[in-house]
Amino acid sequence: MAAVTATTAGETTIREPGPLQRAGITLAHVLSHPLGAIGFVLVVLIVATALFAPWIAPYSPTAISVKERLADPSLSHLLGTDQLGRDLFSRVIVGTRTAMTVALTALSVSIAIALPLGLIAGYGPRWLDAIMILVFDSVSSLPMIMLGLAVVVLLGPGVSTVILVIVLYSVPSYARLVRTQTLSLKTRDFIKAEQVMNAGTPRILFRHLLPNVIGPLVILACLDISTVITLEAGLSFLGLGVKPQIPSWGNILSDGFAVIRNSAVPVIAGGAPLILATVGFTFFGEALRDALDPKLNPERKP
């Protein structure tokens, strides 16, 4: 967070507050908005659950107990059990970890790929830029879930396929953002000065453009977390995401959907954390964007 503030603070300030202080200011800004406060609480709750999942879960999320199939919620099984007698509460808790791991991995990979692509498109020759934009537009014109289905049919279901789908979906828009930023930075005086002083292209790209471009990109990725969680859960719900035995919210919903006429608990238990997570991350992301860089708001006219 500190790094984000540092890059958006502007280069003219002489005495800037330290990174910790800046993070504090940003957080105070986010929390001052009720939306941001709700989002922040939910995000902290979810991240903490993901981090401490194995200690919170009372049972093993994969332990099968045939005798206790579809048990109602009770003191020993807070949310009851699923059709294989697995403790639903434990599955929901450990599912949080699955969701966060997939989302963070996929978004980091996307950022790592989109950064160089966007820099090349923005700083490189015009013809290369034109080709890259055309390819980005083509990939974005593939509807996301259809793209996912097409990839799954080729590579088979699994965590890595889910991550690949997310990367394919996010790289075009991320690279576009980096490209736009690079194009506008390219004409700024401090880059021109570097060029005049004969700085090498790698130096300009990595030392001067990269730090200025990465902030907005991270905000965009934050705003995307809930979309990415939805995509992972959606693919898993269809039986095309993470493997059935791995606890994930989408798998819980998928199992619950099959027994929806016998027990409503699994569907409710799988859906509720998904709603809390998507709403929480969206609220937090929006508040964070408004605090750091309101220019990124698509509803705000420049």
Binding site: L35, L149, A150
Partner: protein, 314 residues
């Protein structure tokens, strides 16, 4: 205007061509024998050989690509692996169901979204505005398949008010309409939030314009300004976004169709993926991309028609 549209159409055609090439190369990146992938592991060597010959898989890759694109240009999307029926015919059979669902979702979502947006503007800065903003973002964030599952649980399983499965018998309009309620609720809910936020933002911008100040100076009632003048401006502003969104709605129906076991493009794609019916998957992906891109051109046309400045911009 014509030139502008021609350019956009040409660009769309190029995008579709690239999509087709991407799909084709994906097909060739599959690890293992493509005939096994297409026909399934239970296929006999004779079946595979016949398939190889039929698809021209024994020829050089570039020749295959040009054959593939040539067939596409003639509207031939290949054949279903199991039934041997043309993919295009199968898609056209289920397309009306998906379009109906998308239209139904669209109509109620835009109506409610515009209404919420207006109410938010009237209460601008007060708790009503804040509450609508909160609800709108939540609607956008919540996954549509969770909405579908929860509404199925409440209205079909618990209350038993509405059917849980299917699209209603052909010819029975009442049953069809009843079968449409829950899926269109699930598909449209996110759009309510999206539209209300767009309308609110566009109207607040319009309220700051000089002509609104003049209207106020003339003593025109505030509600009349909001609903008559600012709304008109806002609707024009969101028309193009809505046209693009309609393309999104077509694919948004995938989950609703699966949860409510409704025939349609999404359900067909899903079934094709599950049975590894390769040509059918490619066909549906291409057709949806085509619809998507068409909606994009329509959006551009609407924008250009309403705002002459756009025409010269590109």
């Amino acid at each position: 205007m014509t030139l502008f549209l021609l350019r956009r159409t040409a660009l769309a055609a190029v995008i579709l061509l690239i999509v087709a090439i991407l799909l084709f190369s994906m097909m060739h990146m599959i690890p293992g024998d493509p005939t096994v992938v297409a026909l399934g592991p239970r296929s006999t060597p004779e079946m595979r050989e016949a398939f190889r010959e039929m698809m021209g898989l024994d020829r050089p890759v570039l020749e295959q690509l040009s054959m593939f694109l040539g067939r596409l240009a003639q509207g031939d999307l290949g054949q279903d692996v199991w039934s041997r029926r043309p993919v295009l015919t199968m898609i056209l059979e289920v397309l009306p169901y998906t379009v109906t669902l998308a239209l139904a979702s669209f109509v109620w979502a835009v109506a409610l979204g515009v209404l919420l947006g207006c109410v938010a503007v009237v209460h601008h800065g007060k708790w009503g505005d804040w509450l609508i903003g909160l609800v709108s973002i939540a609607f956008v964030a919540v996954p549509s398949f969770v909405v579908a599952l929860y509404s199925l649980l409440v209205f079909a399983v618990w209350l038993n008010w509405l059917p849980a499965i299917g699209a209603g018998a052909p010819g029975d309009i009442a049953a069809q309409a009843r079968a449409l309620i829950l899926p269109s609720f699930a598909v449209g809910l996110g759009w309510v939030g999206y539209v209300s936020r767009l309308v609110r933002a566009a109207m607040i911008e319009a309220m700051g314009e000089d002509y609104v100040r003049t209207l106020r100076a003339y003593g025109v009632a505030e509600t009349r300004i909001v609903y008559r003048y600012a709304l008109k401006q806002a609707l024009l502003a969101i028309l193009s976004v809505i046209a693009i969104g309609f393309g999104g709605l077509l694919t948004g129906s995938v989950f609703a169709e699966i949860v409510f076991t409704r025939p349609g493009l999404g359900k067909m794609t899903y079934d094709a993926v599950m049975s590894r019916n390769y040509p059918l998957v490619m066909g549906t992906v291409l057709v949806t991309s085509g619809l998507y891109v068409t909606c994009m051109i329509l959006a551009d046309a609407v924008t250009a028609w309403l705002d002459p400045r756009v025409r010269s911009a590109l």
